[in-house]
């Protein structure tokens, strides 16, 4: 009981302070919740499986300060209840979460946990309230890559670019690069539509189509067939232009400088030119 009151109190203070002082209040809020975490864990842990216990511990330590003790959300971060394990797995495994500073833009990085720990967190959040998608297997057995290419061209290339290099969208938004993702992550992204990404599944794409796209992204976007030499990062004509001008024309100019002679003014002409320039 004391835990619940403390928690509510702390949240109240946090919201109040956050509303009044913005980010400065965050430090205060997190120290207050710290006591609540301890009480919370001792109360419920005996009823959970070891997997969920691990998830709960990690969630309380790393996520609850912003997302709330029961993932109910706060002024700082959205509610995670009912989001499903796939969403949590994607955000944590892609390195977006947890954030060091809650106002930071999430940036892709390495997963800060082991695979077991990440899955445990995802399962724990999913156990609080049902909903969303379970972590997909990411199997691409029997997928039609060609179909995937066509669907990718139609649905994904508009933001992620046809080579999957990613690009800046209007405002501060950006479509991230699709290189270096696991099949599970790609499936999760299509299913759960993180951030500003539009929803494609279920609806626009069937489960088979999702698998086709995942297969194309995991195989041919991640490991493009770079026949013909260095791939220039899938940045197309901008990179090609720089190579063409600086390496191509540049090398030819250096050769010209090597083969050709340099000019030399004679005294008489120089003085004449200097005189002209004075006019």
């Amino acid at each position: 009981m004391r835990g619940v009151i403390l928690k509510k109190l702390s949240l109240f203070i946090a919201s109040l302070l956050a509303g009044t002082f913005g980010i400065a209040a965050f430090a205060g809020a997190s120290t207050t919740t710290h006591h609540a975490v301890a009480a919370h864990v001792t109360k419920h842990s005996s009823t959970l499986s070891p997997q969920l216990q691990l998830g709960q511990t990690l969630f309380d330590e790393n996520c609850s300060s912003c997302h709330g003790i029961d993932a109910q959300g706060s002024m700082l971060a959205p509610k995670l209840q009912g989001r499903g394990a796939a969403t949590i797995d994607l955000w944590v495994s892609s390195g977006w979460m947890p954030l060091a500073v809650p106002t930071d833009q999430p940036r892709r990085g390495v997963d800060k946990f082991t695979r077991v720990q990440t899955t445990a967190i995802a399962d724990y959040v999913a156990s609080i309230k049902a909903g969303g998608f379970a972590i997909p297997s990411g199997s691409i057995a029997g997928a039609n890559v060609s179909q995937g290419q066509e669907l990718f061209s139609e649905n994904c290339a508009g933001c992620h670019t046809i080579t999957g290099a990613g690009d800046a969208l209007s405002g501060d938004l950006n479509a991230p690069s699709l290189h270096g993702l696991t099949t599970t992550q790609i499936t999760e992204a299509i299913e759960t539509a993180p951030g500003n990404m539009p929803h494609f599944y279920p609806g626009a794409l069937t489960a088979t189509q999702v698998k086709d796209v995942v297969a194309y992204v995991a195989n041919d976007i991640a490991h493009p067939n770079n026949s013909g030499g260095i791939g220039l990062g899938g940045n197309g004509p901008v990179a090609e232009g720089f190579v063409g001008l600086f390496l191509g024309v540049g090398a030819c100019l250096l050769f010209a400088l090597w083969v050709g002679d340099r000019s030399e003014d004679d005294e008489e002409h120089e003085t004449e030119a200097v005189k002209e320039a004075h006019v």
């Binding site: 061209s153 139609e154 026949s227 050769f255 320039a277």
Partner: protein
């Protein structure tokens, strides 16, 4: 045997008489005079690789089903043009190398034309009597850009298809006649009846190259007629040409340069990927990829389209669309002013005399500053064609980057002009500018004083004094009979006509 054959031909064609005149031509030797040759040799590479490509490319917008080496496209409906380009890349031996060499060569071709034009502009080589050749050169550059765009478009991949779509809109934006022109060219409303691929193809491989070839002949013919311009020094004057004779000096040098240019193109074609259309997939009018840019020589146009604020002109009964201003009006003004420049400059400077001696850019501060400012303007527009790429890599908002370029394309030229002008002023007044440095030794005396003593660069160094000598008559038949060339290495001069 060869001797007899030569005499037989010479009796009928009189090669030795006209040939002698040609071989006696003097070419001034300066590295910047070889920039145009890069373009010439790239054009040869373009023709050679282009012929190879036409053997395998199918210029048709007809739908076919792709079956081939590249599995991610297996079974897709693509145009015959796209399929043949993918097959050319994967299934034809040496095909991808030829494609890549062709494309890199196009980049080098137009790039070297631009640099060549800059050389001609900043040294004042366009002045009387070379105004016509300046016109031809500018036309060649425009044709190069046009043909580059056409060639880039015909593989019918997703990225180039987007470019054609933009070209269609640009054509449509021309007041009054635009929609008719666009319909006429595309055989209907976009994407038309598929005839755009064969039409672009025949323009790309026949019509435009033929015009380029003709104008190239005129360009070089006029160069022969006027004789090459030259930098002052080494006895070069308005009324003579100082340099090396065509045979053997210049010919061998330029031959070597041909090999070097081809080598650069081949190395790029072999080791650096360009336009991997299989990764882009076929063009489907309702698909679009983000981050699509044209090749760099169209980049300034793309940048102008991006930078242009969304203004339209509403006339009674007719609206002139936004696209018209950056994509039709601006290039129109650009190319017209460029072509008219020799006359514009003559009007302002009042200088209508013949000039065969070139200017140092620093001796003509106004011209150099105008050129640099205009160049910087197009360079900013070129940068603006990559707003999204810059925003992504620098993690800045795309809107901020766009706004920044709107400001930069006004501010940068305004800053570049005065800076260039004052640098030129300073340089042109510096004593000894444009002359090779002499070698000095600084000696410290026992009392601690310093003195400078001129010295030789290395033991036995003698400062070369080059006194151009008149070219002797070269007898071609004697050379062909194995005689040593009568013109040993050195500096020669011939009078101008």
């Amino acid at each position: 045997m060869i001797d007899g054959l030569f005499t037989w031909f010479d009796n009928r064609l009189a090669i030795s008489r006209s040939g002698r005149h040609l071989l006696n031509k003097i070419f001034p030797d300066h590295w910047s005079f070889m920039i145009g040759e890069i373009a010439l040799y790239s054009f040869i590479v373009l023709l050679a690789t282009g012929v190879f490509l036409t053997l395998y490319f199918v210029p048709s917008g007809q739908d076919v089903i792709y079956h081939g080496v590249y599995k991610p496209l297996e079974g897709q409906v693509v145009s015959a043009a796209f399929k043949s380009t993918v097959d050319l890349s994967f299934a034809v031996r040496g095909g991808l190398l030829m494609r890549q060499m062709h494309h890199w060569s196009a980049n080098i071709f137009i790039g070297s034309i631009v640099v060549h034009m800059l050389r001609v502009f900043f040294t004042g080589a366009f002045r009387r009597p070379r105004e016509l050749n300046w016109l031809i050169g500018t036309t060649l550059m425009i044709l190069g850009i046009v043909n580059g765009f056409l060639g880039y478009s015909i593989p019918d991949d997703l990225v180039s298809g987007t470019g054609i779509r933009i070209a269609y809109s640009i054509l449509e934006s021309i007041p009054f006649v635009g929609s008719y022109l666009a319909t006429l060219l595309f055989g209907g409303v976009f994407p038309g009846d598929g005839s755009i691929i064969p039409r672009f193809f025949i323009l790309h491989v026949l019509v435009v190259p033929l015009i380029i070839l003709g104008l190239l002949g005129a360009h070089l013919g006029m160069l022969m007629k006027h004789k090459h311009s030259q930098f002052p020094g080494n006895g070069a004057r308005e009324e003579n040409v100082v340099g090396a004779p065509l045979w053997p000096n210049f010919f061998l040098k330029t031959q070597g340069f041909l090999f070097l240019t081809v080598a650069v193109t081949t190395l790029l074609g072999a080791f650096v990927q360009i336009n991997p259309i299989w990764l882009y997939g076929p063009y489907v009018p309702f698909h679009v990829s983000y981050a699509v840019q044209p090749d760099w020589y169209m980049g300034w146009l793309d940048g102008a389209l991006r930078v242009m604020p969304s203004w339209e002109l509403h006339l009674p009964g007719h609206m002139i669309p936004n696209v018209f201003f950056p994509a039709v009006l601006m290039p129109g003004i650009t190319f017209n002013v460029m072509m008219a420049w020799p006359w514009i400059e003559a009007k302002f400077s009042g200088d209508t005399a013949e000039h065969h001696l070139l200017d140092r850019p620093s001796h003509r501060p106004v011209r150099t500053a105008v050129g640099a400012a205009v160049l910087s303007f197009y360079f900013v527009l070129f940068g603006a064609s990559a707003t999204d790429v810059l925003a992504n890599y620098l993690s800045i908002s795309l809107n901020t980057v766009l706004l920044m370029f709107r400001v930069l394309c006004v501010v940068v030229p305004l800053i570049v002009y005065p800076i260039t002008y004052f640098i030129c002023k300073e340089m042109s007044q510096a004593k000894g500018g444009g002359r090779r440095k002499s070698f000095n030794v600084v000696i410290r005396s026992a009392e601690g004083g310093y003195s400078t003593v001129p010295t030789e660069a290395y033991a036995g160094y003698a400062r070369e004094t080059l006194e151009p000598v008149s070219v002797e008559e070269v007898d071609l038949s004697s050379i062909l009979n194995g005689a040593e060339p009568t013109t040993p290495a050195g500096v020669y001069q011939i009078p101008r006509d």
